[in-house]
């Protein structure tokens, strides 16, 4: 990656994130690395590191943060949230960043696909006759798709 020019980055981005519900405490981070050590995703994908995401947001690397695919990797396990000594509440910050991304139309295809499925079926996974037959054998009630409920929500 070529050298990043700080002058061209957006200092207001961090304040924008802080104005989003959930993002209020992003600026409080003092980079102690406790969250990085608690994050389960970080072991699998080194690009995903709570501390690094915060850092990029604070520096104003708006494009890199919002258009990236790795911000969608957060499993919302709250591990980082628990260990943070400055109450950054990083899981909530991730929600705030993801909302900002959607607002800028940076949505990964997977998410659009999920939205379509919910709209169509009311579920993420298709429930077919095979599943309902099995359920009947076990004495469980069948699952019926109610897409109209989700239509109202979405």
């Amino acid at each position: 990656m070529s050298r990043i020019k700080l002058n061209t980055l957006d200092p207001s981005f961090k304040h924008r994130v802080a104005r989003q519900p959930g993002g209020e405490a992003i600026r409080a981070c003092f980079a102690c690395k406790a969250c990085s050590a608690a994050c389960p995703i970080s072991v699998v994908d080194k690009r995903y590191d709570p501390r690094k995401i915060i850092r990029m947001a604070l520096l104003g690397m708006k494009k890199e943060v919002l258009e990236s695919d790795f911000i969608w990797l957060c499993s919302s396990c709250y591990g980082c949230h628990e260990v943070c000594p400055q109450n950054v509440r990083f899981t909530e910050v991730m929600f705030a960043i993801k909302n900002l991304a959607v607002a800028e139309a940076c949505v990964p295809p997977g998410l659009t696909g999920q939205k379509a499925l919910l709209k169509q079926r009311g579920r993420l996974y298709e429930v077919g006759e095979f599943e309902n037959e099995k359920r009947e054998k076990l004495g469980l009630p069948p699952i019926v798709e109610h897409p109209e409920d989700y239509d109202r929500l979405l």
Binding site: M1, S2, R3, I4, K5, L6, N7, P11, K14, H15, R27, A28, C29, F30, A31, R51, K52, R55, M56, L58, L59, Q86
Partner: protein, 548 residues
């Protein structure tokens, strides 16, 4: 039940029983601290001579200002120092009871360390503060945000007091518009009241902190101004920044005009450039020399809150009655035999407390001398005699008496420094046996060949000299002298038929009884071994008469 002898002069404003100069204080100042101290002293009934600073400003009654004066020389002792001040026109001689070094820190911007030169956009923290005070408008930024970069504690470590100033400056700057501050640092110093909280507030208002573990940013310049290149320590990405202002931090150093004070205290070279050594033996504002006090920068303290406390400490020190109630039981200062004194000035040049003066012969000042006894041991003519502690006989008599009364075999005489080993001894209790003969001495530095030989002559099998740890001697280098001397004595002992292993030096503190016990055990083992060897040699000589 009030102690009878000394009335508290704090409760009254009667002059001290000694000379009237005792009520006069020379304050070496130069900023608000000096002014505050001078005013405070005047309110407490002292007459103050304030050197340095400006003539402008409120002067209390009782404070004489000498803004252009420089202290040239000091003679004498607490209660009656003679100081020579040089002004532009005159040399004045004044008599004062106390001298307080309360000059401000010497502030040196770190341009050189970063290979930077001062320019329109590259300024020091003090320059920025001055600009903010006069409300000078900032230069127009290159883009919509004004990028302000601060260097703090890179290359060399900084102080909490400087971080507080950086935070103040950022706060003031941010009041002026769309400012994006950056702080480039190594270790942030937050160990002072309120700083951690302010650090968080600073982050919440948008300042970005870069904490480097290595060299830090590189500086270059473009036609527009400075250019900084660095690798972000968290993202490991190469970045650059063209700040609209680059603020260089500053070193806070002790003041320079302390030379005359150094000259009055031979031990000062161990403390220089500070006025007192970094030792827990001199609490608060005390220095090794009575009557000379160090406030703030001269003692290595730069936090304004703590300096305020130093001012109180000066008042406390000056208000103590002389002599102090506890000092009444101290023996008199060492006696110098005029018949033996050759005016070699060894004692004058060696006394760590600067307590010895000379006219026809050397003389120790009673109020400055701490009775450590270093002079008595170092005098090449043996002209100085330390008065024994009250009700104690002279040292060699004491050694003899103690050994006579100890029946046990394998006797060890332990010369214990009264400031450390003697206290440690009290905690030892059952661990040490009857064979240890403790002899407290004021400072290990007073123990020498005579004492050690005296011990062996009176029947000791071994000798321990226990001094304080290096850096913790109340007479600065008493313990170093003692250790050195024991080394010399060991070299000597062989020639008089005593195994050098019978003498050892050990460093202890008042809270390390274990170290003393350990040393005694080691010496006991050595004595047993040496005794056996000597026994063997004796019986061999008696037996065959031939050399084996």
């Amino acid at each position: 039940m009030k102690a009878s002898a000394i009335e508290s002069i704090f409760l009254t404003r009667k002059p001290r029983p000694k000379e009237d100069a005792a009520l006069r204080v020379l304050v070496l100042g130069g900023d608000q601290t000096g002014m505050d101290l001078a005013s405070r002293l005047a309110v407490e009934g002292f007459e103050v001579l304030l050197v340095g600073g400006t003539a402008v400003g409120q002067t209390s009654e009782g404070v004489d200002l000498f803004p252009d004066a420089v202290l040239e020389e000091i003679q004498g002792f607490v209660g009656g120092f003679e100081v020579i001040l040089r002004t532009r026109r005159d040399r004045l001689t004044e008599r004062v009871g106390f001298i307080v070094a309360a000059q401000p820190a010497r502030i040196v911007p770190k341009y050189e360390q970063h290979s930077l030169t001062k320019s329109r956009k590259v300024i020091s923290l003090s320059d920025l503060e001055a600009g903010l005070r006069t409300g000078n408008a900032l230069e127009q930024p290159l883009d919509e945000w004004f990028h302000a970069a601060f260097l703090y504690g890179l290359k060399t470590e900084s102080q909490p007091a400087v971080f507080a100033r950086v935070l103040d400056a950022i706060e003031k700057l941010q009041g002026q518009g769309a400012i994006q501050p950056y702080v480039f640092t190594r270790h942030l110093k937050v160990a002072a009241a309120g700083l951690e909280r302010r650090y968080r507030e600073c982050r919440e208002r948008g300042t970005l902190f870069f904490k480097f573990d290595d060299a830090g940013p590189f500086f270059d310049s473009s036609p527009n101004g400075p250019v900084m290149t660095f690798t972000d320590p968290l993202l490991h990405l190469e970045m650059d920044l063209e700040p609209d202002v680059l603020v260089v931090d500053e070193e806070l150093l002790p003041p320079t005009m302390l030379e005359p004070l150094f000259k009055s205290m031979p031990s000062s070279r161990f403390a220089a450039p500070f006025l007192k050594p970094e030792s827990t033996r001199f609490p608060g504002v005390e220095t090794p020399k009575a009557g000379i006090l160090a406030v703030g920068a001269s003692r290595g303290v730069f936090d304004p809150e703590i300096i305020r406390g130093d001012i109180e400490a000066v008042i406390v020190a000056l208000k103590r009655p002389m002599p102090e109630p506890m000092q009444e039981s101290l023996p008199g200062p060492p006696e110098v035999d005029p018949g033996k004194c050759t005016m070699c000035l060894t004692c004058v040049r060696l006394c760590p407390h600067g307590a010895i003066s000379f006219s026809k012969h050397a003389e120790a000042d009673g109020a400055t001398c701490t009775r450590c006894g270093i002079c008595a041991e170092e005098c090449p003519m043996e002209a100085i005699k330390l008065e024994p502690a009250s009700q104690q006989p002279e040292m060699s008599v004491r050694i003899r008496n103690c050994l006579v009364h100890t029946g046990a075999a394998g006797k060890i005489v332990a010369f214990l420094c009264s400031r450390s080993a003697a206290h440690a001894m009290e905690s030892i209790g059952r661990q040490i046996g009857e064979n240890l003969v403790p002899i407290p001495v004021p400072c290990a530095g007073t123990v020498g060949l005579t004492h050690i030989l005296s011990a062996f002559e009176s029947g000791a099998d071994g000798v321990i000299v226990a001094g304080c740890f290096k850096g913790n001697c109340a007479s600065i280098y008493g313990t170093l002298l003692a250790e050195d001397r024991v080394g010399q004595v060991r070299g000597f002992l062989g020639e008089v038929g005593i195994d050098p292993g019978r003498v050892m030096f050990v460093s202890t503190a008042s809270n390390t009884p274990g170290v003393l016990v350990h040393a005694v055990r080691n010496l006991e083992l050595t004595i047993t071994r040496v005794n056996n060897v000597e026994q063997c040699e004796k019986s061999q000589k008696r037996g065959s008469g031939a050399i084996p």
